[in-house]
Symmetry: C2
Subunit: 251 residues, 2 copies
DNA sequence: TAGTGGTCTAGACCACATT
DNA sequence: ATGTGGTCTAGACCACTAC
């Protein structure tokens, strides 16, 4: 790693900040890689030396480097060194809502709320959400349109205590996950099943598709950081305008 | 955590083993959770105390616990403790081949090799594999059958140096990824695009599907641990018999 | 106030790859 | 023989939670 990058990082590190040092360092390294100051193929230099130059301990340096290794930006080889192998941040496998996802691409999604009600969960939903049979949940059904084209039907079931104050107006303006995050839900993991089938008449009507068109279907159960399932989502996409892109790490 | 589990783990830890202590500990904890000795809802006890009982340092204990937190088995809360929130090991997002995947489910896949040849990579494949235009690659086309049913068409393009000695007989007997691993390829990450469409006449003929059936399609570029792309896979699945199941962590 | 996890240090020794 | 990352230690102080 060239001298100037080391100096840049030295300047950027702020010990008075509440942000952990390893996190600051990981961010600075990521920035240096993505803007080309630390190009693909370069070696970082050995950890002991880097720790010394940055005046932080080696475990802290290692922790920062590990973040980038996990993202696929760096590769470590014992006896060799740490090398930059990619200069674009791998899109993480995401739990973002479709709304956020499209906005991040600079497109302007519009949302029609078809259904918004409190219902008694059926057996499958109740089991997925770890609720007693007969429990009530919030059921939402939306249609997502982009560039005048109907893209997806989104059906969600959410535990009553987390979603009881969500309004249709809010759903029109932002993604479900943004609303949940604002209510203190921190998504942690989701089980996801992806399939495909021919559009049913209902699908075709809602998505404005011809008879016989293919749709992509997903069903997920999202759990928040306390390990409790919070939301079930069952989504149907027009396969001719949507693909799921993801990135799988360290299999 | 009850006394006996702590003792079990104390007995199981082996400092003479080349397996890292944090890894041994993580495995023991995972086993204790999955077999019910450490049930859902239980707290582990504080880290300083555990480190003392197991006679290992607290950072090592933390590293082991972190593994399970990342898998969604445990939740840590500052000021509160570490609690078991799930008793089944989340299936990791996998880079396993379909063959391995089905075998893990106890089913017996059979493979027909339709094409196996060295060809000049087209522009898209060459770009994906980071090869010069006109480079040669191994092209494989297989049909995967399970329980007498044609499940998928698998098309792969692999860099010549890694796959030149693979034979059709080997492809019939095991999954592509197993063969690649045996050749020293360690899969590290893959970009994956999932879509759906109506089967083309070719798809329908190869998969023995009726006209108008839906197929699930995936395209991936796999990179090994050195960061180099090694393989491109383009797969087509009978959507009526196959879904992709996965698990998304920490979004 | 007491107890918990979160971060950080300054070393040590080992395994592996290269020369 | 040298240099690298991989693991591990025995502390320290801080931030947050619950009482």
């Amino acid at each position: 790693m060239i001298e100037s990058v080391i100096s840049d990082i030295n300047r950027a590190m702020d010990r008075t900040s509440p942000v952990p040092l390893y996190f600051q360092l990981a961010g600075e390294l990521q920035r240096a890689i993505s803007d080309g100051r630390l190009p693909k193929g370069d070696f970082l230099g050995n950890e002991v030396d880097l720790a010394d130059r940055w005046q932080i301990s080696r475990p802290t340096v290692r922790r920062a480097i590990k973040e980038l290794v996990d993202q696929g930006l760096l590769v470590r080889q014992r006896g060799v060194g740490t090398q930059v192998v990619s200069d674009h941040i791998r899109r993480r496998v995401t739990l973002m809502s479709l709304h956020d996802d499209l906005e991040a691409q600079g497109r302007a999604p519009t949302t029609t709320v078809l259904t918004h009600e409190v219902v008694v969960a059926d057996a499958g939903i109740a089991a997925s959400l770890n609720l007693a049979p007969g429990s009530k949940v919030v059921h939402i059904e939306r249609c997502r349109t982009v560039d005048g084209r109907r893209l997806a039907i989104l059906r969600n079931w959410i535990t009553l205590d987390t979603a009881s104050d969500i309004t249709p107006a809010q759903l029109r303006g932002s993604g479900l996950y943004a609303l949940l995050r604002a209510r203190g839900v921190r998504p942690h993991s989701a089980e996801l099943e992806i399939g495909a089938r021919i559009a049913t008449p209902t699908d075709a009507a809602l998505l404005d598709l011809p008879v016989g068109a293919a749709v992509l279907t997903t069903r997920r159960v999202m759990q928040d950081s306390s390990g409790q399932p919070v939301e079930v989502g069952s989504h149907i996409y027009d396969a001719s305008s949507y693909t799921i892109e993801t990135n799988v790490l360290s299999g």
